[in-house]
């Protein structure tokens, strides 16, 4: 008999296995998030919001009250809930398309207003559910369905460093970090700190998680890890960027 897989307490067992592709990073990030929620013992106070794109497949992943909103609009839905019921802990989970493109005005504005919510952006450098188009995070030269000859920064700009942008506009009290599925213990720690920041009412909290999409990257296991740990991490520095009481910190800390 196979041993039962270890799942966070906040995960729904009856909806497993989850619906993500083999090798997808979402399951890992959401496992870290589940563990963070377990450790903080906040399951009965959390409202979880997921976006459109692959993140929507998590609409029944947790034993948490959940709203699956429209593309990029998870941030204002969670903002609306938090403003109406500040005692709830609101988590907006989305991909880099939802966070940095179609919903970027919501992300920027909620960060500037210092909304007491936690936004998590899974960055896999492209739009996965729609079949692998170029995203604001696509690396220079990276081939996608809408940049089939590789992203040309001359005509499409440079990849968007979302966490750094957020850290430059938030006020004291905000927490900003970038983790990676290549270091799950660290990522869980960041998510826990982000949630704690919300619980303590200090300010906006934001975690970007470098994630994988071998399906659209068309990579094998070795190249998938190399892409995350070398290509992506080389451009998107992993580490805490803003910690309340400590101001700006250097990435890679």
């Amino acid at each position: 008999m196979q041993p039962a897989p270890v799942m966070p307490k906040t995960w729904r067992v009856d909806t497993k296995p989850h619906k993500f592709c083999p090798g997808c990073g979402h399951g890992l990030i959401l496992k870290c998030l589940g563990e963070a929620i377990d450790d903080l013992e906040i399951q009965s106070r959390v409202v979880y919001g997921c976006d459109i794109g692959c993140s929507l497949l998590s609409w029944d992943l947790f034993n948490l009250d959940t709203v699956q909103a429209h593309h990029g609009r998870t941030t204002p839905v969670m903002t609306g809930i938090k403003r109406a019921r500040p005692e709830l802990i609101c988590i907006a989970y989305m991909g880099d398309g939802g966070g940095y493109s179609i919903g970027v005005q919501h992300l920027v504005s909620s960060a500037m207003r210092n909304e007491k919510i936690t936004v998590i952006v899974a960055n896999n450098t492209q739009y996965a559910m729609t079949g692998g188009q170029m995203a604001p995070t696509t690396l220079p030269g990276q081939k996608t369905e809408t940049s089939p000859f590789g992203r040309d920064p001359g005509t499409t700009g440079m990849p968007f460093r979302g966490a750094e942008m957020i850290s430059s506009i938030v006020q004291e009290g905000a927490y900003v970090a970038r983790g990676s599925i290549a270091n799950l213990r660290q990522l869980t720690g960041y998510l826990k700190k982000a949630l704690k920041n919300q619980i303590e009412g200090k300010g906006f909290s934001f975690v970007e998680a470098l994630s994988s999409c071998p399906t659209n990257w068309r990579t094998d296991a070795a190249r998938t890890w190399e892409f995350i740990e070398k290509d992506m991490a080389g451009y998107f520095k992993v580490g805490e960027i803003k910690i309340p009481g400590r101001g700006e910190v250097t990435a890679d800390a």
Binding site: T10, R12, Q43, S44, R45, V47, I52, L56, W59, D60, F62, N63, L64, D65, T66, V67, Q68, A69, H70, R73, P76, V77, M78, T79, G80, I81, K82, R83, A84, R85, L88, Q105, H106, V108, S109
Partner: protein
Amino acid sequence: MSEKAVTEEKRVFMTGNEVVAWAALAAGADIMYGYPITPQNEVMHYWTRLAPKYDKKFLQTEDELSAGFATAGGVMAGRKAFTATAGSGSVLMQEPMAMAEMMRLPTVAVLQQRGGPSTATVIYSQQEVTLTTIGGNGEGMRVVYSTAGHQELYDYTIKAFNTAWKYRFPTFVLGDGYQAKMREPLTIYDPETRGISLLEPEPFVGKEGEPGKDRPPAQYRNTFNLEEELYEKVMSDIREFEKVAPEIAEYESMETEGAELVVIAHGIVFRAVREAVANLRQQRFRVGGFRPVTLRPLPVTQIKELVAGAPKILLVESSYGQMARLLKEVACGSATEISTFFKPGVGITAGEVEARVKEIIKS
């Protein structure tokens, strides 16, 4: 909780936007989310001044998408939440309202129509009827009250919250720039003293107890695996909407019995029609007037009776036939002669309606 905003009946002289703010307070609204756009701005201006006194909340969002989605969030949190917008804001509002339709969220939105598509012509129009009734990428499962003055803005804003929370369809109060900015006398009152009991909101998420242990998690989605799954969901909402539609539908009619011609208009244009019909009756023209108060759902039975009974119908509106399209669908198959008088984005006077009626009758 804080004291009531409106306790005793009072005659007041207010702009329509101020009326909306007072009505929302009287209806027990908890929070408003809004983004500036003329001519609804003063709804926010009055609300932000009144809100702290009565322990209410306000959030100015970054755009109408956010205002609409945050209103959806406020409602899901179990609070009476509302927003107000107009014009291009109504366009952006379609996306959140489409989600609200699908999730059956009792959102309330006050729309003060303005001329379009444009900027600058912020004064008046009836050009947001199509958007408000059936806009969005859905089937228009919404309730729309078109008001014809300040007393109605007060009455129907209060009613909108009850309708929304009773039936769980997004509910709209459709006004216009004239109603928003003009001052009129009206009576404000505590709805409970008039026997109107205010429905209590309930949380969709953030409910008592631990999900998965004390209760199943409350999970709302707008994603479906199969076309058939979506079809079942949409059809079940449509069936429910059609079932309650006759309870929700409202209308006003005057002198339609035995009329040779009935003028149909909605909202503030009907005030010109009222005056025109009274004048024409004095001149012994057999003319009546009819006004759908709800543009969604329409008072279908009454409209069908009207077109079956009256030889002639005149449709009047400050748009190029947005109400007419809705009515013609109901009247389809009738032999009644239908004439129109459309002035998109421009006000209509009683004199103009009278002249058009005479032209039709004499032809």
